[in-house]
């Protein structure tokens, strides 16, 4: 178990802009830390630099307080699970899991014990003699985890390990993976572009865009108090509504946008011209405009809110739920919502 830290780590490929631009990041011991961002944001490059698969252009990686920047991956005591699982196709499941132990020249009896232990935890004992191609996606993923687990690594690095699973299997794998991490308590860095995975599994989330960390915080902090418009619109589905007012952007979540008639306490009203309604089973999404700006409202199916397309309603947002951003920089204005003069 160890703390992972990066100091001003930068990676530049060729002459282009930096893929990772001076990121300072520190995990807590035993933490499940998620790197979340759109594809091409630099999250995988950051992970690969932590793992030693990519040399940084500048900056340092520390594992357990020790600078490991110049060390090859095998000297870092890390384990990594890849998006493709990267199982060795010509080896049996047993040999796949035992491969790191053989590389470490562990005695044979010890190897067998450890493989049996890891296979037991992940429930893959019946498949030990099979080849990877004879396994389902979920089974392969668990073999990859077992191979990572047997080494008693200081750190787990997971690169989108669930993205090759179908939607149903992914939900249960999320649950298993998090339970497994809690059980062994190893510091884990988890890369994903899926906000549901990030919100559901992370102790903390680092939201990354264009090579920099836009916000680092618990899922609740990231969702409720986004640091800028990127974070506000990247998380949430549909994302936060942003309505321009002078040099500001007024942000509010679709679920906080409801008819003014039912509102209580201090609130701000917006005219809402309804264009279209989507029925999604558990909830309804209502698409429309306030002024020239497109906005979305979300109602649980249990809420009885009659809206008709083509009509304009008066909708409201509680003042406490309004997030104010600077229109030019996109950054959050400190100090909560000022008194708004709307219209």
């Amino acid at each position: 178990m160890a703390v992972i830290e990066t100091r001003a780590i930068t990676k530049r490929f060729g002459d282009g802009p930096a893929a990772v631009d001076g990121i300072d990041l520190a995990s807590a011991d035993g933490e499940f830390l998620v790197l979340l961002g759109p594809s091409g944001c630099g999250k995988t490059t950051l992970l690969r630099m932590i793992g030693g698969l990519e040399p940084p252009t500048s900056g340092d990686v520390l594992i357990g307080g020790r600078v490991v920047t110049g060390l090859p991956p095998r000297a870092r005591k890390i384990a990594m699970v890849f998006q493709s699982y990267a199982l060795y196709p010509h080896m049996s499941v047993y040999n796949n899991i035992a491969f790191p132990l053989k590389a470490a020249k562990l005695p044979k009896a010890e190897q067998e014990k450890k493989v049996a232990w890891a296979a037991g935890i992940l429930g893959i004992d019946p498949y030990l003699q099979r080849k990877p191609r004879q396994l389902s996606g979920g089974q392969r993923q668990r073999v990859a985890l077992a191979r990572a687990l047997v080494r008693d690594p200081n750190v787990f690095l997971l690169d989108e390990p669930l993205s090759n699973l179908d939607a149903q299997r992914r939900a249960s794998a999320r649950d298993e993976l998090q339970g497994f991490q809690r059980q062994i308590g190893t510091t884990t860095i988890y890369v994903t572009h899926d906000q549901v995975e990030a919100m559901g599994m992370g102790d903390r989330i680092a939201v990354i865009n264009q090579g920099t960390i836009r916000q680092l915080g618990t899922p609740r902090e990231i969702y409720d108090e986004p640091a800028d418009t990127f974070v506000a619109t990247f998380l949430g589905s549909p994302p936060m509504n942003l309505v321009p007012r002078d040099d500001l952007l007024i942000g509010f979540r679709p679920e906080q946008f409801s008819p003014a008639a039912g509102a209580s306490g201090a609130f701000t009203t917006f005219p809402f011209h309804v264009h279209r309604e989507e029925y999604l089973g558990a909830e309804r999404l209502v698409y429309g405009e306030t002024g020239p700006t497109k906005v979305v409202a979300r109602f649980p199916i249990t809420a009885d809110v009659p809206v008709e397309t083509g009509r304009t309603y008066e909708f409201a947002v509680p003042d406490g739920d309004l997030k104010i951003f600077d229109a030019a920089s996109g950054l959050r204005r400190p100090g909560g919502a000022p008194k708004l003069v709307l219209r």
Binding site: G51, G52, P72, R74, A79, F82, Y85, P89, R147
Partner: protein, 321 residues
């Protein structure tokens, strides 16, 4: 309901169907497949099948260039040929050149492919130069070697002399020339070397393709799992490359085994360098003993059948995987 009536009850005229059948004739795989295969089959039958049958017929007859009537003589040709030291030497050479050159090519192509898979300055130029021997016509390339290794005017000898390795009182002896192609042991080494030089590029390219087909993730995983260079080579790369290595070696074997150009151009079979193919040519065509030439050439047949079977098996295995 009759066959001419569609499900909805609308009548379909037979003329309509006939027209459609004509128009979409080429969409039917049962027809298009054989049609597309036909030229290849005709070509193989005329240019491979017929000569093969002819060669077999000749080898059991007394045909010579001057008298081409086929009279059955049984195994006489084979018996006569097998006894000659020339044939025994050619048989030995054929296998020796093929096996030794392909073993060396396999090792060198692996190393070269690994170098070419890495990123470095001038990689494209090196790749181009590596491939060059493969693109040159065999006869011209071998002529080049013939001149380079000439008994009197060899530039290689000149370089050796300038380097102080050849000439009186030097490492390579008192003579001013090596006489590469005049002594059996040296000439055989030269033939072997030219075969290696010629088949190395193709094997390298095949292995390079195989090497780059190993997913980066798998290599990364091996790195993370603590495997050093040799462990990765022995447990990951070579096993994953094995099928494609077999392809490279089988190709190289066929090319080397059946080749007569190298020997024909370099030594014309002198200095004990004959291989089965060149001996068959010299016996059957240059000396006119067609029947004996055919008999010699047929000794290539079982080995080539074996290689062909291996290749087909390999193809099937990759197909089913």
């Amino acid at each position: 309901m009759s066959a001419g009536t569609a499900r909805a009850g609308l009548p379909v005229t037979v003329e309509d169907q006939g027209e459609d059948r004509g128009r979409y004739l080429l969409d039917r795989e049962g027809l298009l497949g054989p049609l597309l295969l036909l030229p290849a089959i005709a070509y193989i039958a005329a240019l491979v099948g017929f000569p093969l049958v002819l060669a077999i017929a000749y080898s059991f007859s007394d045909v010579i260039v001057a008298d081409q009537s086929i009279d059955w003589v049984g195994l006489d040709n084979f018996r006569a040929v097998v006894k000659t030291p020339n044939f025994q030497n050619a048989l030995r050479n054929t296998f020796l050149f093929t096996i030794v050159s392909q073993v060396i090519v396999l090792v060198m192509a692996n190393a070269l492919a690994m170098v070419l898979a890495a990123d470095f300055r001038g990689k494209r130029l090196v790749r181009f130069l590596t491939l060059l021997p493969w693109t040159t016509p065999i006869a011209l390339a071998v002529l080049g070697w013939l001149w380079l290794l000439d008994n009197v005017y060899s530039p290689v000898d000149w370089l050796l002399r300038e380097a102080g390795l050849l000439g009186p009182g030097t490492w390579l002896g008192p003579m001013g020339n090596v006489y590469w192609l005049s002594e059996p042991s040296k000439a055989q080494l030269v033939v072997l070397f030219v075969h290696i030089w010629r088949t190395l590029p193709l094997a390298t390219v095949i292995l390079l393709a195989g090497l780059t087909a190993i997913p980066q993730d798998v290599r990364d995983a091996a790195n993370v799992d603590g495997a050093g260079f040799w462990r990765q080579l022995v447990y990951i790369r070579i096993p994953l490359l094995l099928p494609i290595m077999a392809v490279a070696v089988l190709f190289g074997m066929v090319f080397t085994f059946t080749d007569m150009t190298v020997v024909y151009v370099l030594t014309r079979g002198n200095s004990d360098t004959h291989v089965l193919a060149s001996l068959a040519y010299f016996t059957g065509v240059e000396s006119g003993s067609l029947a004996q030439g055919a008999a010699i050439a047929l000794f290539l047949f079982p080995a080539l059948v074996g290689i062909a079977v291996l290749m087909l098996r390999l193809a099937r295995r990759t197909e089913t995987n």
